[in-house]
Symmetry: C2
Subunit: 346 residues, 2 copies
């Protein structure tokens, strides 16, 4: 079969280190790929002031998929790389599904004393292109006692329907067939009403899927106290950001949380990235766990139709995680990558 044409954006901090291990595992899996690396992030910003030049964005559109490490650095003002690089990629490439599995693998320690793998196995379908992330808002009389700052959540029937439909399809394909909408309909009444009506309407097309609703505050609590409650969750961009970090915490930590910024219509390449950030405090020390990136590579393979290979990578990670619990010494980023790559190859 044909090569995967892959654009790689290692980004900042530990991004470079974890991406190297992701690519190592991809190669070990025997899928032919051709990778092109893009230098985007803090280094380029400081060198040239550029975050995401239009020509680069256009070039990126030509790939089959993108693998991203992490962006963000304390030397860059807050929001610049996030908004102009990461969010711009998600928006321009129409990644309207931000897909984030929350799954406790056997052998992995969770801070929840009583929970096991049978209790934590869900998928969060986070909207990726609108809501409070739209960037709408403004400031007036900045720095004075009369300053006001606004921030606007923009929600469209078009944007909500497509992500809710995707979530129903996802739920239908899983054994439990349960979809929970998470929002805050009792306070954010305009946006909440649009989300709730959309779920109600589409539920008629998916009679096999059981639907449920949970306010975001209660859902955040249930992630800790009753994670069994959830199968597939659909939610807006900001609530999904928060919920998936709680999810990462209960499912063994941010070192294991994978994600895909998916364009299900395939009008542009999807982008896969670990949920964690660039962690500048441990960058360059070989301390970062590449597992989240390796699991993101599995999601990438799955998205491109290499379902069997994706399952093989996930199984290799699962086996490695079981061994990890009885290991005597901590392995470096590279050693973890080597070990998982060896399992995938062998």
């Amino acid at each position: 079969s044909s090569n995967i044409r892959l654009a790689v954006i290692p980004g900042d901090g530990i991004g470079t280190e974890v991406v190297a291990e992701g690519l190592k595992v991809l190669n070990a899996a025997g899928v032919k790929s051709e990778t092109t690396e893009y230098d985007l992030g803090a280094r380029r910003y400081h060198a040239s002031g550029e975050t995401l030049p239009d020509e680069v964005l256009d070039e990126l559109r030509g790939y089959d998929a993108i693998l991203l490490g992490a962006v963000g650095d304390p030397s860059v003002p807050p929001g610049v790389l996030e908004r102009e690089l990461l969010l711009r990629l998600r928006f321009e490439l129409d990644h309207y599904v931000n897909l984030r599995p929350v799954k406790l693998f056997p052998g992995v320690a969770t801070p929840l004393g009583q929970a096991g793998p049978e209790d934590i196995d869900m998928v969060v379908v986070r909207e990726g292109t609108e809501g409070p992330y739209a960037g709408a808002g403004g400031v007036m009389r900045r720095g004075t006692p009369h300053e006001i700052a606004t921030q606007e959540s923009l929600n469209t029937a078009y944007g909500v329907e497509r992500v809710v439909r995707y979530a129903f399809e996802k739920a239908l394909a899983r054994p439990r067939r349960k979809l929970t909408l998470v929002h805050k309909t009792n306070v954010l009444t305009y946006a909440g009403d649009l989300w709730a009506r959309t779920v109600d309407r589409l539920s008629l097309e998916f009679p096999e899927v059981e639907t449920d609703y949970c306010h975001v505050d209660a859902a955040s609590m249930f992630f800790v106290s009753q994670p069994q409650r959830f199968d597939v969750i659909v939610t807006d961009n900001l609530f999904g950001d928060i919920l998936t970090d709680i999810g990462a915490a209960v499912a063994g930590g941010i070192g294991l949380a994978a994600s895909g910024n998916v364009n299900p219509a395939r009008t542009a390449p999807s982008m896969f990235e670990p949920v964690h950030g660039s962690a500048p405090d441990i960058a360059g020390q070989g301390k970062a766990d590449p597992t989240a990136t390796i699991l993101s590579v599995a999601m990438l393979l799955d998205h491109l139709g290499h379902t069997g290979t994706a399952a093989r990578v996930e199984q290799a990670v699962a086996d490695d995680l079981v061994e990890r619990q009885s290991a005597w010494t901590a392995r470096s980023t590279r050693e973890i990558g080597d070990d998982i790559a060896a399992r995938v190859a062998g």
Copy 2:
């Protein structure tokens, strides 16, 4: 000393049951009070269409404090009682501090396997009158494929400064003297910038207080994985709503989480309420835990200057919680109230 003039709003569902126990403990504490009950909530809404008549609101302004049970019922459209009654009270009475301790009492079971009381002891200072709760927003072309729904977060220098100042004072009065701002400055850049600048500026007035910043997604994770990180948190209305429910989950459940809607300028009465909702599924069955309401009564006493009595009520709760872990049978709402009242009296 003079009577406490107290307005009581039992509200919906379990509100009536838990408020009765709160008042029982207040009486047992020997503080003279004169209570007037207000019938507000789902029953009144169905009977007369009224949520919070202006005359009632004006009357409420005359009290020393308000004790509220819970509002909300599935028979009322989402948002009506929340926005027109609960949030209207918070806004009109200028409850700009929503004070929510997150504290694990000795003997209380937490879902976190490794955490003890020394790990979970913080106070969340949630803004109570603006942000995404302002109710600003709208909808256009409702019910059509071209619908758009917006929801606007309104933040003012006036509103942010006063709550941040309160949080600094709170932090200064606690042994650790640490204040963490929680926001999402890298995405919500306009509002985040106002919050961050305000904390930076006021930190010059409070050199003894160590300040820190955490994105809301990371903070939500740390509530589970490293709650020791936090002493006092200051955050906006929506982030505070979410964080305090995670806080309730890790500190032994929603049955124990107390809160105060505080007007520190004392231009109107403050209002104390359990963090939990009306729980219609268990209403009228004597199953609700009144502890959160009783701890809210302790916060009320503290706010009105009855500091010693407040501490006595909190100690009675703490003692009751220690005994609870070795109890053979579950007590009813009333029995828990009786037992705590007896400890307070005796």
